[in-house]
């Protein structure tokens, strides 16, 4: 069984599934918190348009979970705010 790591748990997926599809299939509904009010966000449009499902994948923030194919051993992390830890100075 192929799987990736989401925060502190393993998420199994079928080859060809996107990160978001695998998350939903594992009953994970939220993987981002908004910039101002820290409200939970997950899959919304599911077709790459709304940018609601942003998530940190292998260290890169603002990846659309609904478009990125899941890969074995991938590191997926909840995105807080804009996903950048410190101001990009």
């Amino acid at each position: 069984m192929t799987s990736f790591r989401f925060d502190d748990r393993e998420v199994p997926f079928q080859p060809g599934q996107t990160v978001a599809a695998a998350q939903i299939n594992t009953d994970i509904l939220s993987w981002r918190r908004t910039r101002k009010a820290a409200r939970p966000r997950g899959l919304f449009c599911g077709i790459g348009l709304c940018f609601d499902c942003l998530v940190i994948i292998d260290g890169t923030p603002n990846q659309r979970g609904c478009l990125v194919p899941a890969q074995d051993g991938m590191s997926v992390k909840t995105q807080e705010g804009n996903g950048f830890v410190a101001p990009a100075q």
């Binding site: 804009n82 990009a88 100075q89």
Partner: protein, 430 residues
């Protein structure tokens, strides 16, 4: 018998944010008949009008006209065929610039607008329209370009613009992420930025609070006239009797003027803007390359590109600017998008690692001499135009609204209105 202007009770709900009961208020103080220009007396006396002024267009200019006209006590109806800010207002960056203007009528209008924007923001709340007095930084990559910028800035200073010339070191103090090796530039502290859709919506809302009726989904289809004077406007939702009609249809102001039988030359000039993912603050001012000024003033029909970069309060960075005359063609141009991105990375190398989230485009309303078309139409008393602001409509909107209001009420204009007069295109009698 003078028919008092009445706020029309259409049964529609007041716009969001309107205090309870506001729609039921009587019309704000109507200008006494005695203050109308003498030649209008008969028209004023004969017609039972629904409003003094019907403004066609719910973009930033229409909203500003409604804001100032309602503040002057005129009763106002705004017709917007789609939604507020659905056209060019919602397709730009929200720039309020004096830096990109050569001395002359447009710069005078921009300087007045900078004052008025601050008054508008004070009334509406600066945060509610995201007004940022951030200043503009013009970058000169080479010594030649710096010399040209220096000459331009000297003429601007004589016209009342505040400019601080910068060397390469100063540039990097203001914008630490700029590419190394740039010759210098200039800082324009009066340049500002606003969230244009919110600004248009809030100004229209403020007009509504003062009694204006903002009708969405209603388009003007023609004028009603009597004895060669405007007596109303025909709409997709019936006829509206009024004393004045303002064409604030932006890029579609040319088409509308034809529909009204009083044609003015306003045509679209397309531009693309890239939007990055939201970032921590990285670009602090409105930053653009010195060749942008030349492109803005150019009359070339071909593609012109210069780098214009700024961040928004939402954390995104907006990357422009392209200019081309291709009619209302909405096709995405990948080569232009690619070139905009490359130019931006040339100026801010750090952007190479930043993702573009979306691309949008809009159509600037340009007139043959690049000046807005603002003022009464000599061919048809009662009709005024307020369009053709090209890429500067957000910045120039308040001074336009003020001027239109002064022209309607017969108050001496704050600005010299002559350069903006629609008759400059050699208007002929219809």
């Amino acid at each position: 018998v003078t028919a008092p202007a009445q706020y029309p009770h259409t049964g529609a709900l007041p716009p969001a944010g309107t205090p309870a009961g506001a729609a039921a208020l009587p019309a704000a103080s109507v200008i006494p008949t005695s203050q109308h220009p003498a030649e209008l007396q008969s028209a004023v006396k004969c017609s039972a009008v629904a409003a003094d002024v019907v403004i066609v267009g719910g973009g930033i200019v229409g909203a500003a006209c409604a804001y100032f006209a309602s503040r002057a006590g005129l009763s106002v109806i705004v017709l917007e065929r789609s939604a507020v800010a659905a056209g060019t207002t919602g397709a730009g960056e929200g720039n309020i610039l004096v830096s990109d203007k050569l001395p002359g009528a447009e710069l005078a209008m921009a300087l007045r607008s900078v004052e008025l924007w601050q008054q508008v923001a004070a009334e509406l709340g600066p945060d509610s329209i995201e007004l940022e007095r951030k200043g503009g930084v013009v970058v000169a990559a080479t010594g030649d370009s710096m010399a040209a910028l220096q000459i331009l800035s000297e003429t601007q200073i004589r016209a009342g613009v505040r400019v601080e010339l910068l060397d390469g070191g100063d540039l990097h103090d203001l914008e630490p992420h700029l590419a190394p090796g740039l010759d210098g530039g200039a800082f324009y502290p009066q340049d500002m930025q606003v969230q244009p859709m919110m600004a248009a919506a809030r100004m229209a809302q403020q007009a509504a609070i003062r009694g204006a009726d903002v009708r969405l989904g209603v388009a003007a289809v023609g004028l009603l006239t009597s004895s060669g004077r405007v007596t109303g406007v025909q709409t997709t939702d019936g006829a509206i009797a009024c004393r004045w009609v303002v064409n604030a249809a932006g890029t579609w102001g040319g088409e509308l003027s034809t529909l009204f039988g009083a044609e003015i030359p306003v045509l679209p000039r397309r531009g693309f803007i890239l939007v990055t993912e939201p970032l921590a603050p990285l670009v602090r001012h409105k930053v653009y390359a010195a060749d942008y000024v030349a492109n803005v003033a150019s009359s070339s029909g071909g593609l012109e590109m210069s780098s214009v970069i700024e961040s928004t309060m939402a954390g995104t960075i907006l990357i422009g600017a392209s200019r081309e005359r291709v009619g209302f063609d909405r096709t995405l141009s990948v080569p232009i998008v690619r070139r905009l991105a490359r130019q931006a990375v040339d100026l801010f190398p750090i952007l190479a690692s930043v993702k573009v989230m979306r691309v949008y485009h809009g159509f600037r309303p340009y007139s043959p001499d690049h000046l807005p078309v603002v003022g009464p139409d000599d061919r048809l008393p009662g009709l005024l135009h307020a369009c053709g602001h090209e890429g500067a409509g957000i910045g120039l909107a308040p001074a336009t609204g003020e001027l239109i209001t002064e022209q309607i009420t017969g108050v001496a204009p704050t600005l010299d209105a002559t350069p903006f007069a629609p008759s400059r295109f050699g208007a002929t009698q219809p």
